[in-house]
Symmetry: C2
Subunit: 427 residues, 2 copies
């Protein structure tokens, strides 16, 4: 295959994570090793929106120490977006967007395009790859996996997920000790709400806080995959309070009742993808437990804190996120396009895990949601089982403490020198 010489564009999409910047660092540092092929390195501001609007920053104007610092800086350093090229709902707009993207790619001689994101972003990458082929525009498109939700198929796990469950499990351990140390015969309950709209990977991950001891928190984990009978749930809470004097419950924001209705959904508000905004699962459960069992109940809503917690990131996760960025560039310079990088694991004879990366065609990824296998969850649906623990435990290994300054993490900020626009504004 002929060598392709041109400029590189990397962008970030969807909800940020503690390690999505590590993937960008991987792209940038690997790109720097191929100066014969990759001339300019650009970062797209706010994902595909920045491409449509020609907002590119010149990465070579950034200090190398800042690029290195991206490995421990949370959130999306380039900015992110929730924008979907949606041929189903808005076909005309989608066609116009795609056209504009290629005007921008051509104007800036973008020949390498890397997009870090979840399901929607992999779908965007796939569309761009197909369009490039259709147009005969020689460009290498590789998707970089990212999502705390862990719901991308084919990859062992999604970068960001390891760190969110490390932070959440740490929090559940600490809260469990706190609530346990206050426990009296009156009993008490603490509900910790975590992210996860349709897949329960995040909630399930908190099971690691138990460290194999049934008495340890969390005592109950509620997953969006299961439909819960509220009477059975209350009986389980009561039983736990009687035996342990307290009960710590982890609840995924999207959990459902027996009818399949999200108990925390506020259907009056929709996000930009048309999903109901969820916020109240823990509060709804609290009302139920206090009302029916008369057990004092407090809630914790970790929200954005959980996906941004770089101070408690998993080193395994940071390293894998970085490798995904590196692998994307290596694959592209080798001539590959239309793939997503995936993470692979090999369990050694001594039980340790060897992590690797591989490629999966984007066509296999886009808009497929990967759920927790039912056989990884206890029969009553109230806890993930050992199969899940065996899967999740290696993801949180190792610490990636950021450098500290005055008692707080030292995160980096890109200076974001914008390059000159070449087209008229997109409207």
């Amino acid at each position: 295959m002929a060598q392709l010489v041109g400029n590189l564009l990397v962008a970030q999409s969807g909800g940020p994570t503690a390690v999505i910047n590590a993937s960008v660092a991987g792209v940038i540092q690997e790109a720097g090793k191929h100066p014969d092929l990759i001339e300019e390195i650009y970062g797209g501001c706010n994902g595909i929106l920045g491409v449509l609007n020609e907002q590119f920053i010149d990465i070579q104007e950034e200090k190398s120490s800042v690029i290195e610092g991206l490995k421990h800086t949370p959130a999306a350093a380039l900015g992110t977006c929730r924008y979907k090229i949606d041929f189903n709902k808005k076909p005309e707009r989608a066609a116009r967007d795609l056209d504009r993207l290629f005007q921008v790619f051509e104007a800036h001689n973008i020949r390498y395009f890397f997009y870090a994101g979840g399901n929607d972003s992999q779908d965007t990458s796939h569309k761009i790859h197909e369009e490039a082929v259709k147009r005969g525009y020689d460009m290498r498109v590789i998707g970089v996996p990212k999502t705390i939700d862990n719901d991308l198929p084919h990859t062992d796990y999604c970068p960001g997920y390891g760190s969110v469950i490390k932070y959440n499990s740490t929090t559940v351990m600490e809260v469990g000790l706190d609530v346990g140390s206050m426990a009296t015969d009156d009993g008490s309950c603490c509900i910790i709400e975590v992210m996860g709209r349709s897949a329960g990977w995040i909630a399930a991950g908190a099971v690691l806080a138990k460290r194999g001891n049934p008495a340890n928190a969390p005592h109950i984990i509620l997953l969006p995959e299961i439909r819960y009978n509220m009477d059975e749930l209350l009986a389980k809470v009561k039983e736990t309070v009687v035996s342990c004097k307290y009960c710590v419950i982890v609840v995924g924001e999207g959990i459902k009742n027996e009818k399949g209705e999200e108990i925390g959904a506020d259907k009056t508000r929709l996000d930009s993808f048309g999903h109901p905004v969820l916020a109240g699962a823990a509060e709804k459960l609290k009302e139920l437990i206090q009302g029916k069992l008369n057990t004092k109940t407090r809630t914790v809503l970790l929200g954005y804190a959980q996906r941004a917690a770089a101070h408690c990131a998993s080193l395994t996760d940071v390293n894998n996120a970085f490798s995904c960025g590196e692998t994307a560039v290596r694959a592209a310079v080798e001539g590959k396009s239309g793939f997503m990088v995936k993470i692979t694991r090999t369990t050694q004879a001594d039980g340790s895990v060897k992590w690797g990366t591989d490629l999966q065609p984007l066509v296999d990824i886009a808009n497929v949601e990967h759920m927790i296998p039912r056989e990884w969850i206890s029969e009553d649906g109230f806890l993930p089982n050992q199969k899940f623990v065996d899967y999740a435990a290696p993801l949180i290994c190792g610490e990636s403490f950021p450098p500290m300054d005055g008692g707080l993490p030292k995160f980096v900020t890109l200076q974001k020198a914008l390059i000159e626009k070449k087209l008229s504004p997109y409207t």
Copy 2:
């Protein structure tokens, strides 16, 4: 003064913190240096409740590595309680309780009593000290300060506070980056609710996340000390969203409107002290901001997670908490009684801080609430100013990372070998 030989009792009270166990470790390790005076070292289970019920654990049966591990283990390792000897509300019960306490002290020859807690616990210690004097029972009573609320008077700060504001500031920095990286022209808002019913020390402490940069989160901090005009607050949020594209607000749970009403109070539920249970300040504000400004708003409710976050504890705080325990024992063996240990700071010529401890009579402490000076808050009430920052910044210095095992902190648990009871049960 004659040397007093007998047994030691240490107990913990009130809401746990990340460092209250470090104070207990200080008491125990210092007590071990005075075997000529201190014969047995007992831990009271669940504070004063365990004393009433004669539930003492034999600390000398614990491994010294476990006592050392208390320095990085959150929550109350001995168990805690919210029980007040209240002569105002329940005079007969209080008199009976006090009588029982001294039966227990005498039965077990308790001559050294250390109680770690906040305002109510210092009040309990004060009553016990006065009763001992009245009865002519020779016992040394020293209060050990503890409260994330930082509302004890005379001490430079309260152990637990340094760690809670280190964790909260770290979280605000991370959430700020996250929300900022998603910011678009539509604007968005994130409200982080923290503890603090009447004193705003915890909320104010999050100002350290700004690191002197007005553009950094948090953009607004709402304190329970101030009565807020909601229209002025909305105008401030709008102004911030226009200039920064996003707005991060930290709100103390007890914040009040112009009429002095707690906006998050659910007056239908009272805690065991008769205070309304607060939970909804952030949710109430979110409704207001979404309803009036139509700005997308998410909330984070840190709850118990903030006071238990040993994984992000301040080394300064851990060391001072430990010193408070040590000092309490040293003072007692020197013959002192009826004091609380307080923390002192000396700012050196080079700006660094030298921490120390001293004693303050318990009579000066009990039930006095120490609030943030008004001159440490900006005129508009929306942010603490440099005077506050100068006070708070030294409290979060240094990291006290717990040892890790499999990616999670390795906390210790006391085995709690109970000693034999000598009295009939207390009813």
